[in-house]
């Protein structure tokens, strides 16, 4: 398994995923009317041709790093993946507990993931940033941010 991962180049993975995406567009386009699918089909076919070229090119390439080293270890470490999932969670929690608490907690957690020390600095910065954003965008620019404060006071 490790040997297989070592032989897989990042371009093979990205090329393969993009190729799958182009096939997906083609399959979805079949149901459309002839004139509505013309440009999507041309686009998808071009993507297909170029992604195959990338895959073929990656077989010839000898110098590039393996997929496991280049992607998994260097660019998508576990903490980063956790931050992305946490950001997705932010979207769902935002309308429930409001911008103030969601953003405050989000900032504290993400800062803690990056650096575990300086707890009180994190709390202070998260609080100041959240309040400043609320003040500028909600009160200053009259932007309708989902605030718990407005829910509580029915504003």
């Amino acid at each position: 398994m490790n040997k297989l991962l070592k032989n897989i180049k990042p371009d093979m993975i990205s090329g393969g995923l993009i190729l799958s995406f182009s096939l997906f567009i083609i399959l979805q386009s079949i149901e459309l009317r002839a004139d509505a699918r013309l440009i999507p089909l041309i686009t998808a076919l071009l993507i297909m041709v170029f992604s195959v070229t990338i895959i073929i090119g990656s077989f010839k390439s000898k110098n590039s790093e393996s997929f496991s080293v280049a992607i998994l270890k260097k660019n998508m470490d576990k903490p980063l993946l956790f931050i992305i999932l946490l950001t997705l969670l932010y979207v769902f929690i935002l309308p429930i507990i409001g911008f103030e608490i969601t953003s405050f907690c989000y900032l504290i957690i993400v800062m803690a993931i990056i650096e575990r020390e300086l707890f009180w600095s994190r709390v202070l910065i998260s609080g100041i940033v959240t309040l400043t954003l609320v003040f500028i965008f909600s009160f200053g620019l009259n932007l309708r941010i989902p605030l718990l404060f407005s829910k509580f006071f029915n504003i």
């Binding site: 371009d11 995406f21 009317r33 999507p40 990338i54 260097k74 470490d77 979207v91 990056i114 009259n142």
Partner: protein, 496 residues
């Protein structure tokens, strides 16, 4: 009337104060990813209801000028364009910051932006009635050819791999296909989601392409202990401001980009998003050292910033005379004029001439304010580079998500930013670049609409794209562009 309006404008302390406020506010908004000129003008329009149009419109013009420059600040300091108009500024501007020359890049940007705004404003004042007639000759075939010309620019800005750049452009084009078919109204790739019927919203897509992946990259660098500050070196000197001598040496680039920006601004739908790329592309083509572009040279910043600021004046020409907004911001300005009882068209230059010329002069004078605010404030903006990444990156993410939410007040838009942002981050780590995706996304609908409308009008005759004179001129420019790119690639290969 033109001179009277000028005297009226400069003799009104109230108008001047609001103009300065507009420019400063625009710079602030532009520096926040996702909060560009369009959103800034749209947000302030409600506050101008009770104001005199002679005060309100110059202030809104100030927001536009300031926001376009402001977009360049984050492009230079963090590598994130605050507005899509500043996407091309990232190439050399951010490289200059990494070379320890952020103050130089910011002051260059301020002077170029002011000059671009000046050229665009004067063009609007002098050429509006004449040049606006030219756009009347543009039919769907010309719009299609123009979009294709824009797409060929992708190849000049792709970075290391031209193949990956082209794929990125096509991916952007495929994103633009989501929503209702522009001709038949048939839903495409919406999967039953009503919010996708209007297509992917521009601001969340821009934030997903630039702000979110850049924040992830900053976090990843911080996690791996690569950098503690934005500049990569804590406490790093940001260097001196640009010298006048160096700016004067690049006067040709500045003037060329200013004129190109104005001309592109006149063409409806093109705007600052395209102008900045064409400005850089043409400067690269004319340069004796094209290989230095992207490594952190002032010429690259000048070319992008002079072009994108010049589009303001240009985009207002068809809007004020023919009621055709040339850009998103001018479309919002269209609404602002309507709110103040002024219907764009011939009446603006007769019935409302005083207010109209007052507004046009404001665009020119705002350039002077922008020059001072940008030039002397640049040292303050430059300090952003020393902010610790561990604090800045999470804050950037929250502001990005807020920016995505701001336009339509929909959580759905935040989701779009996160999904596109994560995919873009993975693409970036594998040698792809984000600007071609944005170009494909912006030009895709223009190309598709132009192509299909032209075929409908010509009853399926493809020769319509090659027989019209303007279409042929654009085609010639496209071929020239492809030839130059291929030649440049060959030169690169030979030199390496």
């Amino acid at each position: 009337m033109i001179i009277e309006s000028f005297i009226h404008l400069i003799s009104s302390p109230e108008t001047i104060t609001f103009m300065i406020f507009g420019v400063a506010f625009g710079v602030f908004l532009g520096a926040l990813p996702g909060f560009g000129a369009t959103l800034g003008i749209a947000m302030l329009i409600p506050f101008t209801f009770g104001m005199d149009p002679n005060v309100a419109l110059p202030m809104l013009a100030g927001i536009y000028s300031g926001a376009i420059y402001g977009g360049g600040i984050t492009a230079i300091m963090v590598g994130i364009p605050g507005t899509s108009a500043a996407a091309a500024t990232v190439l050399d501007g951010f490289a200059m910051t990494q070379n320890g020359q952020s103050t130089k890049a910011l002051t260059t940007s301020a002077v170029s932006s002011a000059f671009g705004g000046f050229v665009g404003g004067f063009s609007l004042l002098l050429l509006a009635p004449i040049l606006a007639r030219f756009t009347l000759w543009f039919g769907p075939a010309e719009y299609f050819m123009l979009a294709i010309f824009g797409l060929t620019i992708i190849a000049t800005v792709v970075g290391k791999s031209m193949l990956k750049g082209i794929i990125a452009g096509l991916l952007g084009l495929s994103l633009s296909l989501i929503g209702l078919d522009p001709i038949t109204g048939e839903p495409r790739y919406v999967f039953g989601e009503i919010l996708l019927l209007d297509g992917l919203p521009l601001i969340p897509v821009i934030l997903g392409l630039f702000a979110f992946p850049q924040s992830l990259k900053m976090i990843n660098d911080a996690l791996s202990g690569k950098s503690g500050t934005l500049s990569g070196r804590k406490g790093m000197s940001t260097g001196p401001a640009v010298k006048i001598k160096e700016l004067l040496a690049n006067w040709k680039t500045m003037l060329r980009s200013g004129i190109l920006g104005t001309l592109i601004g006149i063409i409806p739908g093109a705007g600052a998003n395209i102008a900045c790329w064409i400005g850089v592309s043409e400067a690269k083509r004319a340069s004796k050292h094209p290989e230095k572009f992207g490594t952190g040279i002032t010429e690259g910043v000048i070319a992008a910033e002079a072009a994108n600021n010049a589009t303001e004046g240009g985009s207002l020409i068809p809007m004020l005379t023919l009621s055709i907004p040339g850009s998103g911001a001018s479309a919002v300005m269209f609404g602002a004029l309507m709110i103040h009882g002024m219907v764009p068209g011939p009446d603006l230059f007769t019935k409302y001439a005083a207010v109209t010329y007052n507004y046009i002069w404001a665009i020119i004078i705002n350039s002077v304010f922008l020059l001072f605010i940008g030039y002397y404030g640049s040292r303050i903006f430059a300090r952003m580079a020393n902010i610790p990444v561990k604090f800045l990156a999470p804050v950037m993410i929250v502001i990005t998500l807020l920016g995505a939410f701001a336009t339509r007040q929909l959580n759905f838009d935040i989701g779009i930013t996160i999904i596109i942002g994560t995919i873009t981050y993975l693409l970036l780590t594998n040698g792809f670049s984000a600007p071609p995706i944005l170009l494909g996304f912006i030009l895709g609908p223009i190309a598709e609409k132009g192509f299909r409308r032209a075929l409908l009008i010509s009853q399926g005759d493809y020769s319509v794209f090659f027989t019209r004179p303007i279409s042929l001129v654009i085609l010639a420019l496209t071929i020239l562009s492809i030839y130059s790119v291929l030649r440049l690639s060959k030169m690169k290969e030979d030199s390496s």
